[in-house]
Assembly symmetry: C2
Homo-oligomer: 204 residues x 2
């Protein structure tokens, strides 16, 4: 059976990757979402086991110690990490899985899963990025300033990703990501069984 694709999406805060990811999952309901674990406080409307597994630091550090995380990092004083077991199960059963993580995490996943599909979401401009951060209304002025200061460095890391998608309009970004996943399934490496079947059929 064909294994699933691990789709890894990153982008600076405010690029709109959250919206793009949830719209992509709505357009492609057969794709599973990898729920990250974190020690940061839930934002309004976020639910444990849906948006994140919200853990305290002791529980998170236990997962690190037990090797239960594909990757983890400390960002802005909070832990973020990717539980490994669920991902392995989904991929083995042929299900594609979406991982929405920061650049630090993605770079670590690249080392362990080079066959993953690494996509970086770019904002159309820095002005638009700042506008979106303020418009979100969840971050203080200080946090907005800190995120903007980090943006250029994060965007430079986009060069390490196989794909970059400019999020000018959410529907365009979603269409491009769907195309990238469709293309990944058409990679010859995913179709070797079919080729073998056709070549052998001839000899039979």
């Amino acid at each position: 059976m064909r294994t699933g694709c691990l789709i890894v999406i990153s982008g600076p805060s405010g690029a709109g990757k959250g919206t793009v990811c949830s719209e992509f999952l709505r357009a492609c309901p057969e794709v599973a979402y990898s729920i990250s674990a974190t020690t940061r406080a839930p934002r309004e409307g976020e639910r444990d086991g849906v948006n994140y597994y919200f853990l305290d630091r002791a529980a998170f550090e236990r997962m690190i110690a037990d090797g239960e995380l594909l990757e983890w990092a400390e960002v802005y004083g909070n832990y973020y990490g990717t539980p490994l077991k669920k991902i392995q199960e989904k991929l083995a059963s042929g299900t594609d899985i979406l991982l929405e993580i920061d650049t630090q995490g993605a770079l670590n996943v690249m080392k362990k899963f080079p066959q993953g599909i690494f996509i970086f979401i770019l904002p159309p401009s820095l002005e638009e990025l700042e506008k979106r951060l303020r418009g979100r209304g969840t971050d203080s002025e200080e946090v907005v300033a800190r995120r903007m200061a980090a943006a250029a460095g994060e965007i430079a890391v986009a060069k390490e990703y196989a794909y970059t998608v400019v999020n000018d309009k959410v529907e365009n970004a979603v269409r491009t990501i769907s195309a990238i996943v469709t293309a990944a399934h058409a990679r010859t490496g995913s179709n070797l069984d079919k080729i073998e079947e056709l070549v052998k059929g001839k000899e039979a």
Copy 2:
């Protein structure tokens, strides 16, 4: 300015690559078609300068001698080749160009244009392949038998292509090819200018 993508499509006779290519071009009219040169006789309905440049052997051999072909080969006693100049012009002007050639030709193009998008069209089965060859009604029994004998060897070459698309239904194959081209444009290598602009904007 972004250069165009060279899209190279091959597949055994009868896989339906001709129909898939013409439907793809209809769906994506911004993509140009690379017209091959050949010394084989036109089939019914084929026009010079539209389907092929139909040349006599002397004219074809002059193009070989003058280095005007990206690749050429002799197949079933006829020459087939790809005029180089038009392709270079289209790609430089940012236009994607579709090249529908046999495996021998494609393998040569891979060496000169590794950045091309190489797609192999597979039939759903060998039975279906034979059915389509007969259904075409243009080939004698002897030619059908020769094409079937060649099919397994050709299909084995699919492993050299980055992508393989099973042509079960033309519209599915066209959708997959469109997705592959969309994904190719989202490759980070095609977006380095945008990344640079965003990273520099921060420092300005």
